[in-house]
C-alpha cells in the first residue's frame, strides 16, 4: 500500500466512524416540521429555525410569555431603558425616546459595518458604545444581567420581524471571514460548524437533535441548560468547547463576523427573542 493510499484509507475510516456516531439515533427534521403544523412561520424558503428542532414541551415554553423565563430579562431591559446612568446624566430614553417605536426592527440589521470602527459591530457592542460615548457610563459586561437584559429587550421589540442583515458593500469582507470561520475545521475533533449544522442537521448527536445553526433571530435566548438568558456568543463558545477548540471571548471580531454569517443564514426567519432552547 502506498503512503498516500494508507492515509486516505484512514481518513475514510475516520469519517465513517464519525458518521456512525452521528447516525446512531437518527431523527428527521422533516418529521419535526410536519408535526409543527401551524408553526410555518419558523420556516422560510427551506431555512428552519431552531424552534422546529425543539421538543413540543420546549416550544410551549417559548409560546407562552408567562412561562418563558426570558421575559424576566425583557422586563428588566425596559426598566434599564429609562434609568439615568453615567456622567452625562442620560438614559437610553434621553436620546432614543420610546423604545417601542425607536427600537422596532433594530435587532434585525445587526451586526452591521461601522465606518468609524472600520469593522462590524453587533447589538451588544452598539449598546456599550452608546454607554461609553453618549452616556459617559461604564460598558456592561458580556453575559451579565444588564447587557443581557438590554439586548433581550431590544430583540424583543423586533419580535416577529424578519432577520435582514446587510452583507454587501463594506460588510462583504467581514461576511466572508465569518463564512470562512463557519466552514473551517478546528479543535481536537477537527470539525467545523458545517459538519454538525449543515451535513448532519436533523440528525442526533448523542441525544441532541442537531439544528441548522440558524439561531440568528433567537438570541439572547433562554436555554434550559443555562436556566437563564445567554448571548449568541456564549452559545458559540459552547459549540467551540464541544469540538475541543479554544473558544474566543464574547465580542471577539471572529465571533462578530461569524454572527453576521449566522444571521444571514437566518435571513427572513422571524425574530424570536427571547427564544427558548434546550
Amino acid at each position: 500500500m502506498s503512503t498516500k493510499n494508507a492515509y486516505m484509507d484512514t481518513i475514510g475510516r475516520k469519517l465513517a466512524a464519525l458518521a456512525a456516531g452521528f447516525l446512531l439515533t437518527a431523527g428527521l427534521a422533516a418529521s419535526t416540521a410536519a408535526l409543527a403544523g401551524d408553526k410555518s412561520k419558523y420556516e422560510v424558503d427551506g431555512r428552519k429555525s431552531g424552534y422546529l428542532y425543539s421538543n413540543p414541551e420546549t416550544q410551549a415554553i417559548e409560546d407562552d410569555d408567562f412561562a418563558n423565563g426570558g421575559m424576566l430579562w425583557v422586563e428588566k431591559g425596559a426598566e434599564l431603558w429609562k434609568k439615568v446612568d453615567g456622567k452625562a446624566g442620560k438614559s437610553c430614553a434621553s436620546c432614543h425616546g420610546d423604545a417601542e417605536k425607536s427600537m422596532k426592527g433594530v435587532y434585525t440589521v445587526y451586526p452591521k459595518y461601522v465606518k468609524k470602527l472600520g469593522k462590524l459591530e453587533n447589538l451588544e457592542q452598539r449598546i456599550n458604545r452608546c454607554r461609553t460615548e453618549k452616556m459617559k457610563a461604564k460598558p456592561w459586561k458580556w453575559d451579565k444581567d444588564n447587557l443581557l437584559a438590554m439586548a433581550t429587550y431590544i430583540g424583543y421589540l423586533s419580535r416577529g420581524m424578519p432577520m435582514n442583515v446587510k452583507i454587501d458593500g463594506p460588510a462583504a469582507p467581514f461576511f466572508e471571514k465569518g463564512k470562512e470561520f463557519f466552514f473551517k475545521r478546528r479543535g481536537q475533533l477537527d470539525m467545523s460548524c458545517k459538519h454538525c449544522h449543515i451535513d448532519n442537521a436533523g440528525k442526533h448527536i448523542r441525544a441532541d437533535l442537531l439544528s441548522e445553526g440558524r439561531g440568528g433571530g433567537a438570541f439572547p435566548a433562554y436555554r434550559l441548560k443555562w436556566q437563564k438568558v445567554g448571548s449568541l456568543h456564549r452559545r458559540f463558545k459552547g459549540c467551540n468547547k464541544n469540538i475541543r477548540a479554544q473558544p474566543y471571548k464574547q465580542g471577539a471580531d471572529e465571533y462578530v463576523n461569524l454572527e453576521l454569517f449566522v444571521k444571514w443564514r437566518s435571513r427572513g426567519l422571524p425574530v424570536e427573542v427571547p427564544a427558548v432552547r434546550r
Binding site: 503512503t3 494508507a6 492515509y7 484512514t10 475510516r13 475516520k14 466512524a17 464519525l18 456512525a20 456516531g21 452521528f22 446512531l24 439515533t25 425543539s54 421538543n55 414541551e57 420546549t58 410551549a60 415554553i61 475533533l189 442526533h204 448527536i205 448523542r206 441525544a207 441532541d208 442537531l210 436555554r223 434550559l224 441548560k225 443555562w226 436556566q227 452559545r235 463558545k237 459552547g238 459549540c239 468547547k241 464541544n242 434546550r278
Partner: protein, 155 residues
Amino acid sequence: MNHVKIKVMDRRTFLIGAGVSAATLAGLSTIASATPEEAAAFIAKITGGKKPTEGGMKLEMPEIAENGATVPVKVSADTPQTDKDYCKSITIIATKNPYPRLCAFHFTPRSGKAFASIRVRMATTQEVMAVAEMSDGSFRIARTTVKVTIGGCGG
C-alpha cells in the same frame, strides 16, 4: 513514521466512535430507578406508613427531557375539590436526585382543581413519583419515567 501516524489516527477514530456510542447508550437505554425499598421509604415518609393507591391522578413529564436542568412537570388529582372531597397536597419525588423531594403543592377547596405546573431539575434518568394526600386521609400515587441525557451540546 507513516506507520506511527496511522496508528495514532486509528486510536482516535476508535475513541470518537466509542465515545459517541457509549454515551448514547448510557443516555438512552439505562433507566436508573431507586430500589423498591428506597422508593417505599420515601413514600412511607409522606404517607405516614399508609399504602397509596395507584391512579386517580396524573403526572405529566416529557419522556425525554431536552435538558435535565429544566424539566416541565404537570400534576393533577381527579377530585371535585369541594369542602367534602378534595386533594390536600401533592409531593413530587425523584429518588435518584441528591435531594429526592423536589417540591410539594398544597391545595384547598378554593383551588378549584388539584392542579399545578412547575419546572424541576433531574440529575439522571429515573422514575419520578407524585404522591397525593386526600381530604379523607387516603393517599394516591402516580409514576412516570423521564430519560435525562448527560452532557448535551453547548456548554
